[in-house]
């Protein structure tokens, strides 16, 4: 074996030196913030100290990118809350005010790509459960149109969410107050969750978001409406930044007909509990055992 110029030990030594120097070089060429972002922990594993540092770094990053000072909240779930949503199908007129109210509140990309968290389905009257008849590109001069009903669909915040089960890196999870959220810094963009969701509740950032600077909402939550990145999945959070402060979600406030209701399912005096107790209620695709916390009801 005298012909062998390198022993195994030599090989390992050289390889590790090369790897180290490569890593060191890349560390020099990339900025400290980028490295920190790369080495950032999973949100649920962060200590308070880690969170503070991450928030500070993100605020600086957003300030540089968008020219505006963001306030990123990491407010946790309030004990004793489980958020539920009610939507009155006898009153929805399909005007899509909720869709654009959501776009503004939650810093969606406006075009290239255009992302919406709410999809308003139009169905022929009397065929509410035949979703294959649904159309969401309808564009009449006036709504409601005779002979049609409208059914807005967004993330249903399932108690048994299939999207969470399929995530290979646990970048999405259910919070203690029932909200299904995404850590945009942990998401690898594999889109398994989009395939798993039976409600088409998730969207993908195919490119860097396009948000007009003057329309940016700077009051954001880490798990909610902060501007997203290219190649991450996002979804409705019931406006986590609002509801944890006790405010109605943006879609509730945008609706001109009072179709949308929101409240704490654990509070027997809440609006949502009243409508579940007193109105005819159903949940979408109940047979899939996803246990949505989004209740469609008939006020009339």
């Amino acid at each position: 074996m005298a012909g062998n110029r390198y022993s195994r030990r030599d090989f390992i030594r050289m390889a590790s030196v090369a790897a180290l120097s490569g890593f060191g070089l890349s560390g020099v060429s990339c900025k400290k913030a980028d490295l920190e972002e790369f080495l950032q922990k999973h949100y649920l594993e962060m200590t308070e100290e880690d969170k503070k540092r991450t928030i500070k770094r993100l605020e600086e990053k957003y300030l540089k990118k968008y020219g505006k000072q963001f306030t990123i909240s990491t407010q946790g779930a309030k004990p004793g809350t489980l958020w539920g949503y009610g939507l009155d199908l006898s009153r929805c007129i399909g005007c899509r005010r909720c869709v654009y109210g959501c776009v503004k509140e939650n810093n969606h990309s406006r075009y290239n790509p255009q992302l919406h968290w709410i999809r308003v389905l139009r169905l022929p009257e009397g065929s509410l459960i035949n979703l294959e008849n649904a159309e969401h590109y309808y564009d009449p001069a006036l709504v409601p149109e005779p002979g049609y009903v409208y059914m807005p669909v967004q993330c249903q915040h399932c108690e048994n969410p299939p999207c969470v089960k399929v995530c290979p890196v646990h970048a999405t999870w259910k919070e203690p107050d029932g909200l299904v959220v995404v850590d945009y810094n942990w998401c690898i963009g594999c889109r398994y969750c989009i395939a798993a969701c039976p409600y088409k509740g998730r969207v993908f950032n195919w490119a860097e978001p396009n948000i007009p600077a003057e329309e940016l909402n700077t009051a954001v939550h880490y798990l909610g409406n902060r501007p997203r990145y290219k190649n991450v999945v996002d979804k409705c959070t019931f406006c986590v930044q609002r509801v944890r402060q006790g405010r109605y979600p943006a879609c509730v406030e945008a609706c001109p007909t009072g179709t949308r209701k929101f409240g704490n399912l654990l509070d027997p005096n809440s609006e949502i509990r009243y409508l579940i107790d007193h109105k005819r209620v159903f949940r979408m695709k109940e047979d899939l055992n996803t246990e949505p916390k989004f209740y469609y009801f008939f006020g009339l």
Binding site: Y138, L142, V143, G246, P256, T257, F262, Y274
Partner: protein, 189 residues
């Protein structure tokens, strides 16, 4: 001795009567108070009623006028109001008051402020009023917990003279996938 005993009994009787009368009056007062409390509706955080511009207070014009309580078609003033709300059985002075123009009138004759108009609507629309009070009918904005909130009045969404909700223009539909990267193509340009 005998006389004074009789006097004592007499006094006792008078005292008893007084006590009975007093307690009766007291219970009557409490009863009325409870009834009164029941009749009063609680206050809700409502916005200012949507008056047409320059029309309120009504007494600005009506102050010097004599009230004509005869049911008729108004030809000179308020001609823009077409009553499409039970117009066969109802007219202006069923809800507006002839003596106090700046108030509304309940069926009982009680006067209420315009900001309490939900009581007036609730006289006929009972189930809707019940739903509105718990927040299942109508619109609420602001904080549901720990902050200021606004409950929209019936008349913020429904014109009381013509309450049916009018069709509105919808916001634009989402881009079709084909045009996702080319929004200009959507309009055919």
């Amino acid at each position: 001795m005998y006389y004074s005993k009789q006097q004592d009994v007499c006094l006792e009787r008078v005292n008893m009567r007084r006590i009975v009368l007093l307690s009766f009056l007291l219970s009557l007062f409490v009863f009325c108070w409870v009834l009164d409390g029941r009749a009063k509706e609680e206050d809700f955080p409502v916005p200012r009623p949507p008056f047409s511009e320059g029309i309120f207070p009504c007494s600005n014009c009506h102050a010097g006028m004599e009230a004509n309580t005869k049911r008729r078609e108004l030809k000179e003033e308020h001609t823009n109001i077409q009553l499409k709300h039970g117009s066969v059985s109802r007219w202006c002075l069923d809800c507006h008051d002839a003596t106090n123009r700046d108030m509304l009138k309940l069926a009982s004759g009680e006067h209420i402020d315009f900001s309490h108009s939900y009581e007036l609507c609730g006289q006929c629309h009972g189930p809707t009023y019940r739903d509105w009070k718990v927040g299942v009918h109508g619109k609420r904005i602001g904080y549901f917990d720990g902050g200021p909130r606004t409950y929209f009045l019936c008349v913020n969404c429904h014109n009381p003279h013509d309450p049916k909700f009018k069709p509105i223009k919808p916001e634009p539909p989402p881009f079709k996938p084909l045009y996702k990267y080319n929004p200009a193509a959507r309009s055919g340009k």
